[in-house]
Structure formats: C-alpha cells, structure tokens
C-alpha cells in the first residue's frame, strides 16, 4: 500500500519494503547464477564474454522446448538446460576461443569476436523460435500460503524454487572452488597463469571445465528466469549489462564477489523502483555499476584492475 506524503512523494510502507526485500532475494539468485559463470570465465581467460547473456536465452529456450513443445515435465528442463548450454559453451572454446588465442589476439579482437558470437547465437534462437514472447506451460500464479497469511507477502512457488535452487547451486560452486582440485586450478589460473602452469596446473583442461560450469550455471539461470517471468530472444542480451553490473560491483574475476554483487544490484533495483518508475530498473543497475567503477573500480572483492 502506498500513502502519498504531503510533499507529493510516496512513502513506502513496511509491507512494501519487506516485499521488495523478498523479491530481491529471488532476483539476486537468478542474477548470481548468470554472474558467477561470467566472472569465472573472465578470471581464468581474461575474456569478457559478450555472448554470456545469449547463453542464458539458450537455456531458457531449451526449457521451453522441453516444457511446451515436447510437453515434458519442467523438472527435466533443470537437468537438460545446463547440459545443453554447458556443451555449447565448451564447443565455443574449441571452435572459437582456443584458435583465437593461438593467433595472439588482442583485446578489441576478442571483444568483437564475442559480440559476433552473441549475434549468431541470438538470431539463431530467433530464427528457430521466432521473436515473440512465450511462457512456460506451468502455473506460476500459485503462491506460498503461510507467507501470505502470516506475513502478508507474495512469494510464488517458482520464485521460491529460484531462491532455493539458486542458493543450493551457488553453495555447491563455492565448495567446488574451495575444496576440489578443479576449483584450486581455476583459482590458481585466475591469479597468475604462468605460475599456475609451472606448478603443474593443466590449463587447457581447467579452461574446458570452466566453460562447462559457466554454461551450466547460466543455463539453469535461464530456465529459472523464464519460469518466473517469460522468454523472448533478446532476454539474455537485455540482461547482460545488468549481469556485468553484478560482476563489476562484486569485483571482476571473483566468484564470491559476483554473488555479493548480484544481491547488491538486485536489492538496489527492487528498492529504488519504490521511488522511480519501474521501467528504469535496468538503468538503476547500470548507474550503480558506473558509480562503482568511479569510486571503487576493483569492486567489493575484486583483485582485477579496472583502471589503467
């Protein structure tokens, strides 16, 4: 409920603030699934993958194919989408990125290659599935009853799923990074490639697994995004700059930073739209990113250098 103050501004009520907090947890989890993969690839390869958003779209449409076109249970989408998008990401390593690295490509060359890949993927998706907005064949109007009766808050079942699945997957990634050989190799490569390789890290193998993980995470993110709202071909591209914002706010290259950045951006967006028009949501994310680049260019937890 909104009450107009005497000065003309609307003053949000407690329940609105609580609802905004809840929404930002859900949104933040989806952002994080996308942001962690993007930041891992940057960390290991020093590559800003402009095709990452379109990989999210691919995940969302794999879910659409399973759920709507083949009429199979949605649960299957959560298993197949990460496999398909993970495989796609790995294939880009072999077809595009490894050959390009061998040519000693510079920054602009890598950025434009990623842009080209993003265009091909996005418009291949649009070619196959058309340009319209589509919805999964699921009932996402159902809400969690006790939340509504006890707290007066709206939490859709699929929002709850996004929140829980997001947290579970991200904790698993955290454990993978901290406890496994692969995680150690990834962290070693993102700190110092030469040192890591001379210490016996198999960099090509680690890079392939980084792509697989990055694709799988963003694939799940795509299905969750489509399940909680809808799916259209430019979905991921439209989200990409917001995901960059999450990554940069957290400090590029840092997985935990991306996690923190995702919730920071999601909270800022959900709270600020209580005052400014909702259509400015993405703009809020960009503005926060630009402010962070100005005052703390390495982000909350970053080690990478954003400044010359």
């Amino acid at each position: 409920m909104v009450v107009s103050g005497s000065n003309g501004y609307t003053i949000p009520q407690m329940d609105e603030l609580a609802q905004a907090a809840l929404n930002s947890l859900t949104t933040g989890s989806i952002y994080a699934l996308a942001a962690v993969g993007l930041t891992l690839v940057y960390g290991v390869l020093r590559l800003t993958n402009f095709a990452h958003g379109d990989m999210l779209t691919l995940g969302a449409y794999v879910g659409y194919a399973i759920n709507v076109q083949w009429n199979l249970p949605i649960a299957l989408a959560f298993l197949v989408a990460p496999l398909v998008v993970g495989a796609f990401a790995v294939s880009t390593e072999f077809v595009v990125w490894r050959p390009l690295r061998r040519t000693g490509a510079g920054l602009l060359q890598k950025l434009l290659m990623a842009i080209g890949l993003a265009l091909v993927l996005r418009y291949a998706i649009q070619f196959v599935w058309g340009g319209d907005r589509s919805f999964y064949d699921i009932d996402n109007t159902g809400t969690v009853d006790w939340m509504r009766s006890a707290l007066g808050l709206t939490l859709g079942y699929y929002d709850l799923l996004a929140l829980v699945l997001g947290v579970v997957v991200l904790v698993a990634v955290g454990l993978l990074l901290a406890r496994t050989l692969l995680g150690t190799s990834m962290r070693a490569l993102s700190d110092d490639v030469d040192l890591a390789e001379s210490s016996g890290v198999d960099s090509n193998r680690t890079i392939v697994w980084t792509w697989a993980l990055s694709g799988a995470l963003v694939g799940i993110g795509g299905v969750l995004f489509a399940a909680t709202s809808n799916v259209y071909p430019t979905l991921g591209w439209d989200l990409l700059l917001t995901i960059f914002a999450c990554v940069i706010v957290g400090g590029i290259g840092s997985a935990y930073g991306a996690l923190a950045g995702s919730y920071v951006i999601a909270f800022s967006q959900e709270f600020l739209v209580l005052w400014v028009d909702g259509s400015y949501k993405t703009t809020i994310g960009f503005v926060i990113m630009i402010i962070v680049l100005l005052v703390r260019p390495n982000g909350i937890l970053g080690k990478g250098r954003a400044v010359n």
């Binding site: 595009v96 602009l108 434009l112 290659m113 265009l119 990113m289």
Partner: protein, 314 residues
C-alpha cells in the same frame, strides 16, 4: 537529370549507406586513431536524431541550426562521458560506454514528454517542407526529381566533406599526437602533452559525426523510435571499420556501401521462401558470422595493416 526522376529502393539503400559511412568515420577517428574502443557510438547517433528533431520540429530552430546544435550537444556529452570512461581499462571502458548508450535509450523510451516514448517522434521538416518546396521550384524549371533524391545527394555531399575533413585533420600534428597517445600514452605525457585531452577530443569529433549521421537518419526515416538505437548499430559500425582496416577513412566509406548498402539493405530485395522475420534473423546472423570470420582470419581488415590493429589494442 532523368536519372534522378525515378530512383527506387536503391536510392534509399544508398542514403542509409552514406549515413553509416558518416557514423563509421566517427568511430574510425575514435577507435582507429584514438584507440578508444567506443562501444557506445549509437548514443551519439541517438542524441543527433532526437536533439535535432526536438529543436527543429518543436522549437523552429531551422534545419541548419538544429543540426549544428545536435552535433554540439553530442560533442559535449562525449567529453562528459570521457571523463570517467577514459580512466578505465579496455573491457570496462567498452562496457561502460555501451551502458551509457543503453541508459540513453531507456530515457528515450521512458521520458514521454520529451521523446514521445516508444511510439516515436516525427522529423518532418526536411522531407515534407524542404523537399516539397525544392521539387515545386524545380518543376517550374521543368525538372522532375524523385522524393528521395535530395537527401541522397545531401548525404553523399556530407560524406565527402566529413571524410575529407577527418582525413586532413588526422594528417595534422594533432592527428600524429593522437596516434602517439594510442601507442604509448605514458611517453606522450612525459613530453608534456595532455593524453586525456587528445582522446577526449577524438571522442568529441567522432560523437559530432555520429550525431550528424543521426540527424540525417531522422530525416530519412521521417518518424523514428528508440528501437532504432540498439547496440547493433554500433557493432555494424565496427564491422565497417574493421573491414576497412582500422585507421582508413576512405576504406570506411567504401565498406559502408558494401556492408550497409549491399549486404544489409540490398539483401532485403532478394526473394527467399523464408518469412520476413526469418530473413531479418538470418541477416543479423550473417553480420555475426562476418564479424567472427574477420576477427579470426583477417583482423586487420581488407586494406589495413596488422600494426594499426595491434596499436589500437593497447
């Protein structure tokens, strides 16, 4: 003069190609010579189209004053953006200027009082008032010209002027210092030159050309909306300057005709069994594939040298 009586669809395609040539020459100054990876050039294109349409249609600024004012606004905006952005390293600079363009597009969608939102805005003065007067006057002298001929001719006169001005400017000592900044800005700073100022000036000049292209685009379209200012416009410009070879001004003009005129506009007139939407998707996939193949096999472009590309990377 019979040539100008019936121009048909290719006249429109060539007009758009000329508009892209001006847009891409701006990018060439910024990226090819200044070494600034401006992924947000479409922002200045947007400023040119909207600022001139608002000034000319609503405030009766006149075609010339409206155009010059739009270019000045874009140049000032470029300097303001440069202050934070030029401090950032390559990827971050590219992401922030891309975000700047998207912020402006969001503003154009949402600030309905100023821009009329997603419904779009008219830019009638040139096509309706000016061209109608011109054709009437010429008809009295017994000369018939096509409706699209005046803008086609005007655009290509401007292409030549912009290309010549940029080419001459880049041959001056200013141009040489700019390229020196691109290669090693520490060395240039050590010589007492303000490296930031040179890059910001390159941004401002490129932005003014981008805005001029935007003004012509608004006249070509007569009515336009925020969907015309998506980042793809910038990347089409990048394809043009990479194909031309970074640094090459005249190559940029030629590639703008090939890429925009033939590949993108011209391909609309080829009949295929696909739907229009599918053809549009294929066209964008083609742009993507062309960009990828160029990056992989010929990053120095068709006429450029590898050194220019490597230098622009620093």
């Amino acid at each position: 003069m019979e040539l100008l009586a019936e121009i048909g669809p290719w006249g429109a395609a060539l007009t758009v190609a000329g508009i892209y040539a001006i847009f891409a020459i701006g990018l060439q100054v910024q990226v090819g010579h200044g070494g600034v990876d401006n992924f947000g050039q479409v922002a200045f294109f947007l400023i040119g189209a909207y600022a001139s349409a608002i000034l000319i249609e609503r405030h009766d600024a006149g075609l010339v004053v409206g155009t010059l004012a739009a270019m000045a606004i874009a140049a000032v905006a470029a300097v303001i953006v440069s202050i934070p952005a030029l401090r950032l390293r390559g990827d971050f600079l590219a992401i922030s200027v891309l975000a700047f363009g998207e912020i402006l597009r969001n503003v154009a969608i949402n600030e309905r009082e100023l821009t009329n939102g997603s419904a779009g805005i008219d830019s009638l003065e040139f096509r309706v008032t000016f061209v109608r007067e011109l054709r009437r006057t010429l008809r009295e002298d017994g000369i018939e010209i096509d409706r699209v001929a005046p803008l086609l001719i005007l655009t290509w006169i401007i292409v030549v002027v912009v290309a010549l001005a940029s080419w001459l400017l880049l041959r001056t000592p200013w141009g040489r210092v700019l390229r020196a900044v691109r290669e090693d800005d520490a060395a240039v700073r050590a010589l007492g030159k303000n490296a930031f100022a040179y890059k910001a000036q390159a941004m401002a000049i490129g932005a003014a050309w981008g805005a001029l292209a935007g003004v012509l685009y608004s006249w070509h379209q007569v009515h336009f909306s925020p969907t015309s200012f998506e980042p793809i416009v910038t990347f089409t410009g990048f394809i043009i300057i990479i194909a031309a070879g970074l640094g090459s001004i005249w190559g940029t003009v030629l590639m703008a005709v090939l890429v925009q005129g033939v590949l993108i506009q011209g391909s609309r007139y080829i009949d295929t069994p696909l739907t229009n939407a599918q053809e549009a998707s294929l066209r964008y996939m083609l742009i993507g594939v062309a960009l990828m193949l160029m990056m992989r096999f010929r990053p120095q472009g068709l006429f450029g040298s590898r050194e220019e590309l490597a230098a622009a990377d620093e």
